[in-house]
């Protein structure tokens, strides 16, 4: 199928599609590496602390004391991959809420992109190294840029509750991009859903066209087929009404469940929206699949359809495989319950947050400060010797630059451009 090949060309398929097991092992590796680093970092910080303490005191600390310290340093408990996952999911939900606070709210698509960025970032990075709180805002800001929804940085920073500065927002930006392997394209199921609904509406109004592989069906056949499907769980007045209702439910599912689970890593966008559609209105979704791939498939009656060459019809094969995959995907979507609605989950989340507070990598806490340090090492050094001189220095430089700028502007203002021979005017 050509459409599938088009999807296979996307970075989402090439770099961000995993099997369940590979996803799990990747998370485990990330967690193992990160915990090791956290332990090492904690040890280092403790050692420096100790050495400064001992130098100020002038006397070495008692042996028993250091031993005890060593022991509790070993006991630093790191997060498990599962706990990390819960934490990331919580911040994904927070991202949705954060998008809601803006006026006007940030579009769902942008928020979904940000959530996927977060999820992708935390595949190879651990919340113990970089706290999701700082990454979250940055992810949303990057998403507004990649999805063409412009918000100025200042406006964006103002929208975040608490005193978040613009620097805090963009500090982890490059880091985030690196974590995303510089692939910003996220294929969402939202637009695909619109397309599917459009097709169904066309069929409902007798304007549908058969799929290229099943060309013998006419628009009337399709319409009749659609009208004769099983009634919906909730009775509706007309077919288009029913489709619209299913559309709405599916959209809600895609906004929440599809974002908070690993669906994006494990399935393709079209499979995701089809499974959500199955949850919303099973007969309708199955009808659309039948139209596209032919033949109803039930797990109980395997119909060995063979053509004259004795081969199994490839469409049938796809259809039965798809049935399996869609069922898997819908159970995954169904398994999702919002964290905030479940007190037990909230409780465990609080526990995880507390734990994270202890095992946070101390070297990576203040990203904004680190960034400033790395970009302006010279001023940082100068500030130790004397802040006044360095400030006056920068002031002087700024003034000089401003003067030069003005001169250039003045020259450019001249209609005939700057003077060709400057010396003659002087004479």
């Amino acid at each position: 199928m050509i459409e599938d090949d088009i999807y296979r060309a996307s970075s989402q398929y090439r770099l961000w599609s995993y099997t369940e097991s590979s996803l799990q092992s990747l998370r485990a590796t990330t967690n193992a590496v990160a915990s090791e680093r956290v332990r090492a970092a904690l040890r280092r910080s403790r050692e420096t602390h100790q050495s400064t303490a001992s130098s100020t005191a002038g006397t070495p600390l008692p042996e028993s004391n250091t031993e005890a310290k060593n022991k509790d340093e070993k006991d630093v408990e790191c997060l498990t991959p599962e706990e990390e996952l819960v934490l990331v999911r919580y911040y994904c939900e927070k991202t949705l809420e954060l998008g809601e606070t803006y006026k006007p709210p940030i579009p769902t698509m942008v928020r979904a992109t940000a959530i996927q960025y977060l999820r992708r970032f935390y595949l190879t990075n651990s919340p113990m190294t970089y706290h999701p709180k700082s990454i979250m805002a940055c992810a949303l800001f990057v998403a507004t840029k990649t999805d063409n929804y412009y918000i100025s940085l200042r406006q964006f920073a103002d929208g975040i509750p608490g005193d978040t500065t613009t620097d805090d927002v963009i500090a982890p930006e490059f880091l985030l991009m690196q974590g995303l392997r510089f692939t910003f394209d996220v294929r969402h199921p939202f637009r695909g859903l619109e397309g599917g609904v459009m097709e169904l509406q066309a069929i409902a109004q007798g304007q549908g066209q058969p799929a290229p592989h099943l060309p013998y069906e006419t628009a009337e056949d399709l319409q009749q087929g659609l009208l004769s499907i099983a009634p919906p769980p909730v009775p509706s007045s007309s077919m288009s009404d029913r489709i619209a209702r299913a559309h709405g439910t599916t959209r809600e599912l895609l906004k929440s469940a599809a974002q908070m689970t690993d669906a994006y890593f494990l399935y393709t966008p079209s499979q995701i929206w089809f499974s959500a559609f199955l949850l919303a209105d099973r007969p309708l979704a199955e009808f659309l699949l039948d139209v596209k791939l032919g033949g109803p498939v039930t797990a109980t009656i395997p119909a060995p359809e063979t053509d004259e060459n004795g081969l199994v019809n490839p469409l049938y094969e796809i259809r039965s495989k798809l049935h399996h995959v869609l069922t898997e995907c819908s159970t995954l979507l169904q398994s999702y319950t919002p964290l905030s609605s479940d007190p037990a989950q909230m409780k465990s989340l609080k526990r995880i947050a507390k734990k994270l507070y202890h095992c946070q990598n101390p070297e990576k806490v203040n990203l904004a400060a680190q960034k400033r340090e790395s970009t302006q090492p010279s001023t940082a050094v100068q500030s130790d010797t004397g802040t006044i001189t360095s400030e006056s220095e920068t002031e002087r430089l700024a003034k000089k630059r401003k003067l030069e700028q003005e001169q250039i502007v003045r020259q450019n203002d001249d209609v005939f451009g700057p003077e060709l021979v400057t010396q003659r005017t002087k004479q």
Binding site: L175, R191, M198, Q205, Q370, S374
Partner: protein, 369 residues
């Protein structure tokens, strides 16, 4: 070619058919026919075969001969004559070239085989079988035989051309040398005369100076000549190497031929695959879709107002763009079974590199600050 001794012996040569001897008829010429190699005089041939094919008049030989096949004998020994004929014919058919064989060994085997065939035919061993083999081979390898013949002819003609060229060059060289010698001699003579006359006319004090001058002039001339000669030689060498290269090229071009029953160890010819028609999209047809047929209109209460909204359409926005994009995204990857395909891909990439890559991704993710 007829040496004196031969001509003397020919004096009493007698035509085996009409018994007339050379003594009576000094202009008598003997002819042979490669069918049976029986010798007879020209007048006999005229007499017997003018009115069409007839049997050989020699007793016991009942071969049918034709007049146009009669020719002059090249070698005195009729056996040699016959062998040469056979050799020529066989070589004409079995005319494989060394380039066509896989190895030197295969070519040598071929040469040996050819000699065997020739020997068989000459000494009349298994003639029928050998002939059948030859005919079969000729029928099967008509094409390659013909091309090889063409190459041979070309080679022969180019060889001829080269020989004439070389001869011409040699002649020119000789001429140049002779001319040079002449001019040199004349100059020396003129110089000497001039020198003598100047000595005669000049005073006695100048004598030494004049003598030196004359010597110098001669020297200069000879060195100039030498450089000229050098130039010509270089030019000729360049010319020669040029022609050599051309002939080499023509020789290498044709090679190949299928492995036949008779000749073994031929090199396989690689026929170049016919070029497929150019496909700029590599099998992808831009407008072809497998899941849906794009319609020009889809009923939708959200989109319908846009269709007639001048504000929307003024900028060139076309709702069909939206249709094609949404429908593509609706079905793109529907039967792309990630779990299956990715695990297969990982297996293909080979486990070590895949995990390495993941580890590296982790490293890089963790390293950055």
């Amino acid at each position: 070619m007829a040496s004196n001794a031969a001509s003397r012996r020919d004096e009493d040569e007698v035509c085996p058919v009409c018994k007339s001897s050379r003594y009576l008829n000094p202009d008598m010429r003997f002819l042979i026919n490669p069918e049976c190699y029986h010798k007879m005089c020209e007048s006999c041939v005229d007499r017997i075969f003018s009115s069409g094919p007839a049997n050989c008049p020699v007793a016991g030989c009942r071969k049918t001969l034709r007049k146009n096949r009669f020719r002059k004998q090249t070698f005195e020994d009729i056996g040699v004559e016959r062998e040469v004929d056979i050799r020529r014919r066989v070589m004409h058919i079995l005319n494989r070239r060394e380039e066509e064989f896989d190895s030197k060994r295969a070519y040598d085997d071929f040469l040996e085989q050819r000699e065997d065939i020739i020997a068989n035919l000459v000494s009349r061993i298994d003639v029928a079988k050998t002939e059948a083999q030859l005919q079969k081979y000729a029928a099967e390898n008509m094409q390659s035989i013909r091309t090889n013949q063409a190459i041979e002819a070309e080679e022969a003609s180019s060889f001829q051309a080269r020989m004439t060229l070389e001869q011409e060059e040699a002649r020119l060289r000789r001429q140049a040398v002779r001319q040079e010698y002449e001019t040199e001699r004349r100059e020396i003579q003129a110089g000497r005369e001039d020198f003598l006359s100047r000595l005669a006319s000049g005073s006695s004090t100048d004598a030494a100076a004049i003598a030196r001058e004359g010597h110098k002039v001669l020297l200069k001339k000879s060195s100039a000549r030498r450089s000229e000669e050098e130039r010509i030689r270089q030019k000729q060498a360049a010319l020669r190497s040029d022609t050599k290269r051309v002939s080499n090229l023509s020789a290498v071009e044709h090679a190949g031929g299928a492995d036949t029953g008779l000749v073994k160890g031929l090199r396989k010819i690689k026929t170049p695959e016919p070029e497929k028609p150019y496909d700029p999209f590599m099998g992808y047809v831009p407008e072809k879709r497998d899941y849906y047929a794009l319609q020009s209109y889809y009923p939708s209460q959200y989109l319908d107002p846009i269709r007639n909204d001048a504000r929307m359409l003024a900028g060139g926005y076309d709702l069909r763009e939206y249709y094609s994009r949404t429908l593509l995204e609706a079905f793109a990857g529907l039967s792309c079974f990630v779990g299956e395909e990715i695990s297969q891909r990982d297996a293909n990439i080979s486990k070590s590199t895949a995990t390495e890559g993941a580890a590296m991704a982790v490293e890089s993710g963790e390293n950055t600050a």
